[in-house]
Symmetry: C2
Subunit: 231 residues, 2 copies
Amino acid sequence: MSRTDEVVDGIRRMILDGQLRPGDRLPVEKDLADTLQVSRGSLREGVRALSILGVVHTRQGDGTYVTSLDPARLLSPMAMVLDLQDDGAMPAFHSVRRVLETEAAGLAATRMTDDAVAEARAILDRVPEIMHGASVDHDRFIEIDIAFHRVIAAHTGNPVLEALIESFAGRTVRARLWRGLHTEGIEERTHGEHEAIWRALAARDPEAARIRMASHLLGVEDSLPRPENLE
Amino acid sequence: MSRTDEVVDGIRRMILDGQLRPGDRLPVEKDLADTLQVSRGSLREGVRALSILGVVHTRQGDGTYVTSLDPARLLSPMAMVLDLQDDGAMPAFHSVRRVLETEAAGLAATRMTDDAVAEARAILDRVPEIMHGASVDHDRFIEIDIAFHRVIAAHTGNPVLEALIESFAGRTVRARLWRGLHTEGIEERTHGEHEAIWRALAARDPEAARIRMASHLLGVEDSLPRPENLE
DNA sequence: TGCTGGCAGTTCATCTGATGTTTGCGAAAG
DNA sequence: CTTTCGCAAACATCAGATGAACTGCCAGCA
């Protein structure tokens, strides 16, 4: 086990033991290096790794602190790593997204506040103004797409589910997804399906919301370019 | 943006550009440091971070290589970070696991080979011998529990789903879960539910498999200790 | 009194150079 | 042809020095 791994494990253990709690400040580099019996260089490598994993957060001139450790923060690094995936993995990927978002829609249908429903409505209302005739502002449409799905995820009452969906359907991933979709009139169809989902949510009908969301995402999967290599 | 972040981003970009492909070897530290205009120390911090994220793999005396980048490898670091979660997040966590495993059971029911069904059977057959009378070999029962669920996940045909389930229901997480369950006869009940899931799988009945798995995991959630802080 | 600006100390950021450890490979010996 | 040995390459780790950024405090001013 390398020195750096010892540092990562050591800090992880300190958190698990309750020796370090969210928001706490870590000892200064030199002290911590002494404690863990490594040089400052190795210590920094370990701390940096934990920083990228979202476990700690360091500010120059101040110190290094344990983050809030909530699911959203801890799951977010996944997104960065996920878009390294080969395009061939996209279908498997999107199937999981469908499962997650379908569940989210069902949960949101019973848990969304009136305000949240209105917020979703406001997002969809922005669509007509960017779909004037033949030309569609593609980037802004994607923004709306993301925003709509995000509102739903945000009102599931399950932060873990929300964070996972954010990773699986966040900006970079979504941009890649839309790049492969060149079907004519795809925006109109998507918008129509969003409207159907919204109606189910507004009616507080979880079953309908699940079906509409699943149908929506299955449609997207159908539009996905087929992987070249068939078994 | 710190130097280290530039390194991480730089290497990530080289992979995205196809300049580096899975299995490829990175330039030696000094060269890469020159290319990215950073010192060797900073370079190492960045490479180490990517190493912990599972993107690259470095061997002393040899060099640093891009990993296979498959979902299992890229999602596995999540498990380490996930058991830093507060116990209060356990229910949200387990709900997601239930959704994932339910889907997995449904998929596996139609995709499992006869060999895989036999493998699952063999795992369950190990149970009687460790449940002699009142005393139960707790650790070995957990091992069987993990193995059974893992076989199902492995035959969904979806590596992303498999990797996610592994993270959400892997060894460390599962150990924590079982710590909180002290209901009398929980092992017997669990085993009975596993048997029911197996029958659905053997019958190649996806709907039944889904229901049995969901029921099984909902039962586990009921046994979960209630969080202390009610809103 | 209350606010503002600057100063000093602490802490992280980065670089440099040196030394230890491991690995891979080819040459030499059998 | 096989085995063994030694060298060179590459990563691992350390130590020291310098720079940059933030915090807290305190004096000066209105």
